[in-house]
Symmetry: C2
Subunit: 340 residues, 2 copies
Amino acid sequence: MSTVTTREWRLKSRPVGLPKSSDFELVTAEAREPAAGEVQVRNIWMSVDPYMRGRMNDAKSYAEPYQLGQAMTGGAIGEVLASQHPDYSAGDLVRSMAGWREAFTANPEAVALEKLPAANLPPQAFLGVAGMPGMTAYVGLLRMGEPKEGETVFVSGAAGAVGSLVVQIAKIKGCRVVGSAGGPEKCDYVRSLGADAAIDYRKAGDVKGLISALREAAPNGVDVYFDNVGGDHLTAAIDAANPFARMAICGMISIYNATKPPPGPPNMAMIIGKRLRIQGLLVWDNRDMLPDFLRDMPQWIADGKIKYEETVFKGIDKAPDAFLSLFSGKNTGKMLVELA
Amino acid sequence: MSTVTTREWRLKSRPVGLPKSSDFELVTAEAREPAAGEVQVRNIWMSVDPYMRGRMNDAKSYAEPYQLGQAMTGGAIGEVLASQHPDYSAGDLVRSMAGWREAFTANPEAVALEKLPAANLPPQAFLGVAGMPGMTAYVGLLRMGEPKEGETVFVSGAAGAVGSLVVQIAKIKGCRVVGSAGGPEKCDYVRSLGADAAIDYRKAGDVKGLISALREAAPNGVDVYFDNVGGDHLTAAIDAANPFARMAICGMISIYNATKPPPGPPNMAMIIGKRLRIQGLLVWDNRDMLPDFLRDMPQWIADGKIKYEETVFKGIDKAPDAFLSLFSGKNTGKMLVELA
């Protein structure tokens, strides 16, 4: 056992609009020898996710805001270097919320530490397809979307970590699937996942273009909408929705960096006539579905029914770049930072 | 049996924005002797309701648009004058969708004719407290709102036909109730129904004023929102909503006359963090609750737990005025036109 040098990203200033590199600061620190009840972990992978943008604001939300001058947090996969806790041993692969740093020493409960579930998957899959984004897709589509065979599912951000899995789970459930993404390459990727149609929202241009593209791609209307984008995408989904359509609102990446709240959909009155059900989704309200998820998802991957991509940045110094790339749509599938 | 002279309101032109008197035309017609299978009915009461505004547009919606040059339709209570149908006899009190006219002859199915349910209530109550508006309040609050004892229910349009009943049913269910209405007299009325607080939205001014008034009136936040108004009211409700709040979207009278769809709430992103459930409500999707409603509501009225008001215009010639008054907020409780 020995002290380990680590680098960690701290929030230096609260971003206004799109975060800048200067809002973050890479600081050298120490991960000391574990005291009784503690573990010392070297991170191998860390996750960057759109929801982290909200935590950079000083606003009460479902997740605690990051504190200025302190290390940020987020999902990470690491290896136990030393343990003074009976449940962990050196060499264990673990997942924690102590991301944005190379190593740490902590009480397991304080960082939500857990051993990786037994499954024949690479460790970083537990930050993506078999982790929070995968569970989000699973819960949001199946519990809130309630898709029935033959129905049409529309998912925005369909080339992303969550959306790419929604596309494929919806196909497994026998639905017609329409995905939206930015640019022809991503649309090709969405189709390669099995989507029946892909909409290039950049080509569509404005909300009118998006609405006509969606009507064309979903001639029978939309029964389930899985929202990762918000804004015009939500307006288009309401427009194309069939009576009794269900909408799982998982993310609104199009407005996370807005300095002033943008207006909502101008067609909200359609909620009444169409009897829409619009529901906000936070994955961890649905922990009761975790056993089902950990049974289904590895099996689907083994059966070749679920494919997944990763976009990887290497080195802790690249973590803010990886995070910022989420907002310019540079990732296909799960965005990860490889640390070791 | 004989032919009866009647007057009926026809839609002369499709209104743009707030309807004008010149959009309607009162025409004299005949209600002829009933043929086999038909009944001849003299209307005693007719209903005017905000939803009728939507039917004046030439837009596909849940209710068929009114046709230009033809008599409009809507809820009415009448007395059978003559019957050639085995289920009806002269003197029967009936409810139908053949409103906006003094008398008619029709096949019962064609006008959704039904005898009034047995209940110790005046006939026009079956257009209000014991009819569609009452059922709307009952279904929307209990099925979609799922109020629990001690929770806070916010209802907009709380002095109206539906809202005034939502206030009282929520009190019966042990909730804290906040109602909004326009002007001090209506707010007094809302409080007289048992509401713990009433918000005068005219005094509140803009959406900021509405939000602070609601925060003050609902210090523990809003668990259930029953929307009759839309627009700023919905924004304020989302702002004040507690996690897992339920919203029944029943009406958006604030925007029915908009010539251009107004922007939606700028705080839609809160749907995610608060895990809101927002659901559109059309009463007749919930016919399975009709027996419960017809059991509970007359009993609540008999027990003095539900009070109701009517605002009455007299004579068929006043029907458009009654309808238009809905949009200037002239009614307390159910707006009716007495025809005979």
